[in-house]
Symmetry: C2
Subunit: 193 residues, 2 copies
DNA sequence: CGATTCGGAATGAACGTTCATTCCGGCTAT
DNA sequence: ATAGCCGGAATGAACGTTCATTCCGAATCG
C-alpha cells in the first residue's frame, strides 16, 4: 500500500519537474519513467495516458494554489488592502514550497491538452480573484479597469518574479517580496497623488 | 526572385502563427508547409532545420521589437517618466502590429531550442531596458529593486494584457492602454504618498 | 514451520504511428 | 531544350502505448 502510493507520487513528482523544465510536448514518457525510477509501463497502471497524467497534475496543484490563497481570507468587511496582502502572501507561500508547480500552472493554464475538468478547476480559482477585485472596485480603492486586466497585471508580475527566483537570477528575501507586494498593490490601487 | 522571397516569408508567417497558437513542439513541419502553401521539402530549401527556422523567426522579431522601443528614445537628459512612456508605447505599437510575435517571444525567450545568437539578440534588447531602469534608480525616481525584477514586473504585466487582447477577452482601447501604462509606471516608481 | 501456490504489481521489449528530414521525378521559366 | 526549383512520397528515428512475462510477498498446505 505504502509502495503503491509512493510510485504514483514519484511519477507525479518526476512529471512536474520535467514538465516545468522542458514543457509537456518535449517530455517523453520514458523520461518520466526514468526520473520516477519505474518502468514505462508502470505509469499506465496509475494514469490512463500522458494527457490524463498532466491533467491530474494540473488540477492537483491548482487546487492547492487556491487553498493557499483562500485559507484564513479576511471576509468582505475587511479592507481591500489587507485582502490583497493576504492573497499575495498566500501566493508567495505556495510559490516558495512549489516553485515548479507555480511555473507549470502559469505556462499551461491555457494549454490545448487541458480537459474540461482542469479548465473548470482553474476557473474556480479565478472566480475567487474576480470577487476580490470587484469588491475593491466597488469601494473605489482599486482602479476601474477590467478585472481580467487587473488580475493579469498582478499575476503576470508575480509569476515573472518567481521565474527569476527559480532561475537563480534574483534572491528571494523577505524585503524583496515585501517590495514586490507593495509594487503590485501600487499597480492596481487608485492613487491620491 | 519575387516568388522565392515570397515563399520564405510565407513559411515564416505560417510558422509564427502556428508556434504562437500551438507552441514549437506541437507544431509539425508538414503543418507549417500546409499553412504556407508549400511542399514540406521546400521548407528545407530556405532553412537548415526546424530549429534553425524558429531561431531565425525569434531573432527577426526580437530585433524589430527592440527597434520599436529604441526609435526616437529620449536621451538620458530626459526624465525617466517620459522615457518609460516612450518605451511602453513602443511596446504597444509592436504588440498591435505583431500580437502573435509578442506572444511568441514572451513564451520562448528561455526556450531550450534557442541558439547562442538568439540569446545574444535577446540579451541586447534587455540591456537597453537595464540601462533605462538603472538611470531611473540613480535619480531616485524608480524603486531600488533589482533591475531584473522591475523589468519582469512591467514585462509580465504587459505581455499578460496582450495575451488577453489576443484571446479577445478584453478590448484594446486607447483608454485601457493609457490606464495600463499608468498602472505599470505606478508599479515601478517611487511614491510620495 | 518450511515449502509451495497464488495473484496482482511491475517491467521493458515490441507495436503501430507520427515525426523531421531526404530525395528524386517532374514542372517551370528562360 | 535544359537548368534549377519544387513538391510530396519515402525514410529512419522516436514517440506513446500495450502486453506477455517476471517478480514478490502473502496465503495455504503438508
Amino acid at each position: 500500500m505504502e509502495l503503491t502510493a509512493n510510485k504514483r507520487d514519484n511519477i507525479l513528482d518526476a512529471s512536474l519537474i520535467l514538465f516545468a523544465e522542458r514543457g509537456f510536448d518535449a517530455t517523453t514518457v520514458p523520461m518520466i519513467a526514468e526520473k520516477a525510477e519505474v518502468g514505462a509501463g508502470t505509469i499506465y497502471r496509475y494514469f490512463d495516458s500522458k494527457d490524463a497524467l498532466v491533467n491530474v497534475l494540473f488540477q492537483e496543484y491548482v487546487k492547492r494554489f487556491a487553498a493557499y490563497m483562500i485559507k484564513d481570507y479576511p471576509d468582505s468587511s475587511a479592507n481591500p488592502r489587507s485582502q490583497f496582502q493576504h492573497i499575495f502572501y498566500g501566493m508567495i507561500r505556495f510559490a516558495k514550497e512549489h516553485t515548479n508547480a507555480l511555473y507549470f500552472i502559469d505556462v499551461n493554464c491555457n494549454a490545448r491538452f487541458l480537459d474540461d475538468k482542469s479548465r473548470e478547476v482553474f476557473q474556480e480559482m479565478m472566480a475567487f480573484l474576480y470577487s476580490f477585485v470587484d469588491h475593491g472596485k466597488r469601494q473605489n480603492i482599486i482602479r476601474s479597469l477590467p478585472s481580467e486586466a487587473l488580475i493579469a497585471v498582478v499575476f503576470g508580475a508575480f509569476t515573472r518574479i518567481y521565474g527569476l527566483i527559480r532561475k537563480g537570477v534574483i534572491q528571494e528575501t523577505r524585503e524583496l517580496l515585501a517590495d514586490i507586494e507593495q509594487s503590485c498593490w501600487d499597480a492596481v490601487r487608485i492613487h491620491s497623488d
